[in-house]
């Protein structure tokens, strides 16, 4: 079992969700995050004082999947999130050792979906 963590542009969330649905991946958890990366920030000024904003708004996805679903999950995220511009984001895959469904105590691969 793998945990896919993806940082994407906020306005790509809907298309990523649609791509995931197409691949029959329905379970995903989302938080909002600030990201600092290659993408240049922008300048605000507040009352005449310049502010360099280099923490940009990103959406962070967590998708736990079984190995067999890993590829299609990665594909879906990439397809949905890619615009080709800097700031499109990153995907990290981490190992999951155990997974439990709280409702009924299911564990492992059964629990994940």
């Amino acid at each position: 079992m793998k945990l896919v963590i993806a940082y994407i542009q906020p306005d790509r969330l809907n298309s990523v969700k649609q791509e995931l649905y197409k691949k029959e991946i329905y379970k995903v958890s989302i938080t909002n995050a600030l990201g600092c990366g290659q993408q240049k920030g922008y300048h605000e000024s507040y009352r005449g004082v310049d502010i360099e904003v280099n923490l940009l708004k990103k959406v962070r996805l967590e998708i736990a999947v079984n190995e067999s679903f890993l590829e299609s999950t990665l594909d879906a995220v990439i397809t949905g999130a890619r615009t080709g511009a800097i700031g499109d984001g990153k995907i990290f895959v981490l190992p999951i050792e155990q997974c439990i469904r709280i409702r009924n105590g299911d564990t492992g691969s059964d629990a994940i979906g």
């Binding site: 906020p10 306005d11 790509r12 969330l13 909002n32 300048h43 605000e44 708004k57």
Partner: protein, 436 residues
């Protein structure tokens, strides 16, 4: 503010015996002027207060990333508008009439006496109301500089010209057109300019999504209903100045009638919209009910001097019903994106209020045995101002679009106008999901 002087004068006037009959008469005449003046100045302050109502309704019903831009638009359409109306707008509206079409004197209200200053003060806040209505319909995607240009033209020409027809002694006034406080002159005018603007501008990204052959209508939720609701209460409050002040005299005893009618019309509007929304969408929707109160107010504005309480309740209920259906119609059928419902509230219900005058006027209304004459004139008035304002605004917005550009870029729209147009954040530090 030196008390000594004031007291001296006052006491002089008060000591019995000193004041001869002549003086007494002069004093009574001073009171007449003063009553008119303080009534109108206070009413004008109330109408000014509607500005913050408009601003908050628009802020509340749009997304957080554009709030600062909305503030600037609302601050500037009043500020720039006031300067323009001083220099130009008043002259076009109330200057010596050129064939009943527009006025052409009193630029910069030069040589204004106390009467004219009072009137100007009351009129400038009306002009600003018409101007600011448009802001809501064009929210979240209009270039700020373009909005400034628009402001100049609506307060300088578009509004004053049709205002002249009705209130400046123009041709509609001669016909007997009745628009007591401006359902048509102010609200419809604002509403139709809003429609022209929204049309030329196009919808916000993501509002109407083409799916195959169909267009799917999406909701773009407002981010702050408490502020929107405060805005509606502020508008309602200010409307007592708007309607009751339109007597233009503090000793016109119909003031209390007008206040009562305004209250009942607004209340019925809120109820009408709530019930309609409840029936249509299964829930008593908040933002629609808020729009309903405004719809009732707009609907009662033309006729609050001449309808009965029962008439007011019916007009309000109908306005509430109408505003919900109209918002759905513009959204789902015409696909004109109006984030706050300005076209329906002000344009459509403004017409309704104007027509309703022909129906419910307790003397000349159709339902009261007054025949269809007034109704006809009301229809002519509503139609001609619709044509003038829509036409002139379309030209204005098309020219702006062609020359300086009317709309921000896609990237700017997505990032939000606060950052891209004003370099600011409105809710710094708050965690807000901006993809919504």
């Amino acid at each position: 503010m030196t008390y000594a002087k004031v007291c001296f004068i006052t006491i002089g006037l008060l000591v019995p015996g000193i004041a001869a009959a002549q003086d007494l008469e002069a004093l009574v005449q001073l009171h007449q002027m003063s009553l008119d003046m303080i009534w109108l100045i206070l009413a004008a302050a109330l109408v000014f207060f509607m500005q913050v109502g408009f601003a908050l309704v628009e802020i509340g019903l749009t997304r957080a990333k554009n709030s600062g831009n909305i503030i600037m638009k609302n601050l500037m359409d009043f500020s720039a508008g006031a300067i323009i109306y001083w220099a130009f707008g008043w002259a076009v509206m109330y200057g010596t009439s050129v064939s009943g079409l527009f006025g052409s004197s009193q630029f910069f209200i030069r040589g204004a006496d106390h009467f004219l200053l009072t009137d100007w003060m009351f009129q400038v806040v009306f002009a600003a109301t018409a101007a600011t209505i448009v802001s809501g319909a064009m929210a979240e995607r209009t270039k700020f500089s373009a909005y400034l240009v628009y402001t100049v033209f609506i307060t300088g020409i578009i509004y004053p010209v049709s205002g002249h027809w009705v209130w400046g002694g123009g041709w509609l006034d001669s016909l007997g057109f009745h628009d007591f406080a401006g359902s048509t002159v102010v609200h419809s005018a604002g509403g139709w300019a809003a429609m022209a603007g929204a049309l030329v501008l196009g919808p916000r990204i993501g509002k109407y999504v083409r799916q195959g052959k169909d267009i799917s209508v999406k909701a773009i939720q407002g981010h702050n209903l408490p502020l929107a609701s405060a805005g509606v209460f502020f508008l309602w409050f200010g409307w007592y100045g708007f309607n009751a002040g339109s007597t233009l005299s503090g000793t016109d005893l119909s003031i209390s009638h007008i206040a009562v009618i305004t209250t009942l019309g607004a209340a019925a509007g809120a109820i009408g919209a709530m019930v309609t929304a409840w029936k249509r969408f299964g829930k008593p929707e908040v933002s629609m009910s808020l729009n309903g109160a405004l719809a009732g107010l707009v609907g009662i504005t033309a006729n609050c001097d001449t309808v009965s309480p029962l008439g007011a309740v019916i007009i309000g209920l109908a306005a509430g019903l109408l505003v919900v259906l109209s918002i759905e119609f513009f959204d789902k059928v015409l696909h004109i994106d109006d984030p706050v419902g300005a076209i329906s509230v002000h344009g459509v219900c403004g017409v309704w209020g104007t027509i309703a005058t022909g129906l419910f006027h307790t003397e000349a209304g159709l339902f009261y045995g007054g025949g269809a004459a007034l109704l006809g004139v009301q229809a002519i008035g509503a139609a001609s101002i619709f044509l003038w304002v829509t036409g002139a605004s379309l030209v204005l917005f098309l020219v702006i679009r062609k020359t300086m550009g009317l709309r921000v870029s896609e990237r700017e729209e997505l990032m939000g106008l606060d950052i891209t147009e004003h370099g600011t954040e409105s809710y710094s530090g708050f965690q807000i999901f901006t993809n919504m």
